[in-house]
């Protein structure tokens, strides 16, 4: 009885494959379209980081010459951005290196779990450790050192705080996007 049940499933599978063999399924147009694709993966998070770093490297020296940031602050900011870009590449590398031709499901699950853990660690530990001192320094450079006479320096910190809030929200959005993608994949592999 039991064998008959699974034999029936085997026959259904064979019939399905037989039916599909008769279908054309793939057109030349589809194959050509796939092959035209360059391996430009969807690496929006990584691209975002690189974009931010480029902007930083261009903007900060300009700002330092033209306006009020000190060179020490510019160098520290540049170093921080460089560190962030290197870390982003390091975290993303195993995911990008995943080869669908050679990686088994267990490997995919392991890489995704590691990726998610590193991203979470970055948000919980590295981000506050970098951003809080940097913001403090930025407030000092922008608001206190160059405050016009008669103006309370605290008012001058407002643009920095607003800018940091906007930047933080954008960063958090991309963080959630990457982590949720990894989480969805993990749930699909490890579900039930």
């Amino acid at each position: 009885m039991e064998e008959q049940y699974f034999e029936e499933m085997r026959q259904q599978m064979a019939a399905l494959k037989g039916q599909l063999d008769k279908q054309e399924i793939v057109s030349d147009h589809l194959i050509r379209k796939i092959m035209k694709m360059r391996t430009k993966d969807i690496k929006s998070t990584k691209n975002m980081g690189i974009f931010a770093a480029i902007i930083g490297f261009i903007m900060f020296p300009l700002n330092s010459i033209a306006h009020s940031w000190s060179w020490a602050f510019t160098i520290a900011t540049g170093a921080m951005l460089l560190f962030c870009v290197i870390a982003t590449i390091y975290i993303h590398r195993p995911v990008e290196k995943l080869n669908y031709m050679t990686s088994d499901l267990a490997t995919v699950a392991r890489v995704m779990a590691h990726f998610k853990k590193q991203y979470d660690n970055w948000l919980h530990y590295v981000t506050p450790a970098l951003i809080i001192p940097w913001l403090g320094w930025a407030c000092y450079e922008f608001a206190w050192k160059n405050c016009p006479e008669g103006l309370n320096p605290l008012w001058m910190t407002l643009p920095i705080i607003i800018g940091a809030a906007i930047g933080g929200a954008i960063g958090y959005y991309y963080h959630c996007k990457a982590v949720n993608a990894a989480k969805d994949i993990l749930e699909q592999i490890e579900e039930q």
Partner: protein, 157 residues
Amino acid sequence: MKQQEELFSRLVREHKSTIYTVCYMFSKDEDEVQDLFQETLINMWKGMEGFREESKIGTWIYRVALNTCLTMERKKKREIKKVPLQMDVNLFEDGDANAKQARMLHQRISQLAYVDRAIVMLWLEGMSYDEIGAVVGISAQNVAVKLFRIKEQLKKM
């Protein structure tokens, strides 16, 4: 490059029914099958550089298709515009005997967890426990244990 394109084209045509079967078992409608099928081809093409023809092609095709079906973010907008598949039948809707049989199998398998679906599909294809283990990334003993549990689950359906 030309050689690689020819190999890719040949592989896709030779294994189209295997790829479609995997995508079908992981989808709830024809639209999703098309998405998964196209995504599988994209991943195959991206992985062609590391592909060695002497390796066991069937196992590799399964690996790519299953990895894609298990890891694709279904809500994500596709990278390229979808090209319709050349199919005269709709296995989700047609009323002929073959489509009904396929749907019956789909109904049974789709009630299983994703990884269990992969294991049972490979088993129904006649793969050995070692081969199934190589695709899924678990030992042959583990495959046997999982398969026993899956069979019990299937019998209760």
